[in-house]
Symmetry: C2
Subunit: 187 residues, 2 copies
């Protein structure tokens, strides 16, 4: 059974820092490149980036212009295919609106986080993603702010390796999660 439309969201606000304080993180080019390439690999329809900082939105726009329209598109067409999935919004609500408009269905946000113990399994998540459009939500910094988790949205179990160590980069975690959920070899 194939997946329904799937999108990823990289949230820069509200997230928490290492002390648990609510912060806005900076957008980094490499997050965008890496996660866009992973998103394209696994057939995602969108890669949303949430930042309220106008200057950073402008920088992302410049990056996308270079790689999707400018000389970068000619230089590296595979990078173009990845980065053209990106859409930048100021808030998560705007992402929900856009994804709702695009899919014609109520979004099913699935929150990710390394420290959650109440999450659904990857197998269960994969089953749910076969029912309707999904929206995988990743936090930068030390993770999504608590308010995300008070919405009755699904939470995915953390990626664990061989022991309790769970300090993957968001770029690595997103890659593994997409492989497990949207890959042909998924659970």
């Amino acid at each position: 059974m194939s997946l329904q439309p799937l999108a990823a969201v990289l949230v820069h606000t509200p997230v928490v820092d290492r002390r648990g304080d609510r912060v806005t993180t900076a957008v980094t080019n490499l997050d965008l490149h890496d996660i866009a390439r992973s998103a394209r690999t696994y057939g995602l329809k969108r890669f949303y980036v949430v930042t309220p900082v106008v200057e950073q939105q402008r920088l992302v726009g410049k990056l996308l212009g270079h790689w999707t329209e400018g000389s970068g598109a000619e230089y590296n067409p595979s990078r173009q295919q990845a980065l053209e999935l990106i859409r930048v919004f100021s808030s998560f609500d705007e992402v929900l609106d856009d994804w709702r408009n695009m899919t014609g269905a109520e979004p099913l946000p699935i929150l990710t986080g390394a420290s959650r113990e109440d999450g659904i399994s990857f197998a269960e998540c994969r089953r749910q993603l076969q029912q309707g459009p999904g929206l995988l939500v990743f936090g930068t910094g030390w993770g999504l702010a608590p308010e995300f988790f008070s919405n009755d949205w699904q939470v995915l179990e953390p990626v664990l390796g061989v022991d309790g160590y769970n300090h993957l980069s968001v770029r690595a975690a997103a890659a593994i999660i997409l492989d497990r959920l949207a890959g042909r070899f998924g659970l």
Copy 2:
């Protein structure tokens, strides 16, 4: 059945550029951080970095000093646990020697690359990794130079998503490959 000792190698020379020319790439801090954290997550014993450039070896040493002995170790112990897996060598032969000394067995290099079609499957690779110490070899730039592939070493099939697109970052590819080969949910 549990895995035998496993290590990853990130090769900066000899690799190829987009035209297929033999080059030496620059070491980037983020590759080291990301892949070290993935390596630690999946219980690897070593994360080798190959660069012949003395100045870059020195920079890596400085990075490691900060995170494994300096103030960074206190600030972020989980990062210390990851980065202390790193060993820097000038050539792949030196990596083979070190891994041979460490494991007491002849190394089993497994080469990765996005464009190889002659590779063994992930399932087969996982079986082989249960027989003896393994050494997963990743290339930077546009991949490992051809000479790696003339050694009769194993080659792993590429990571494919939903279609033929295979342009993952080395950070994302390493994360997915470790999850598939060394994760508890592996194939």
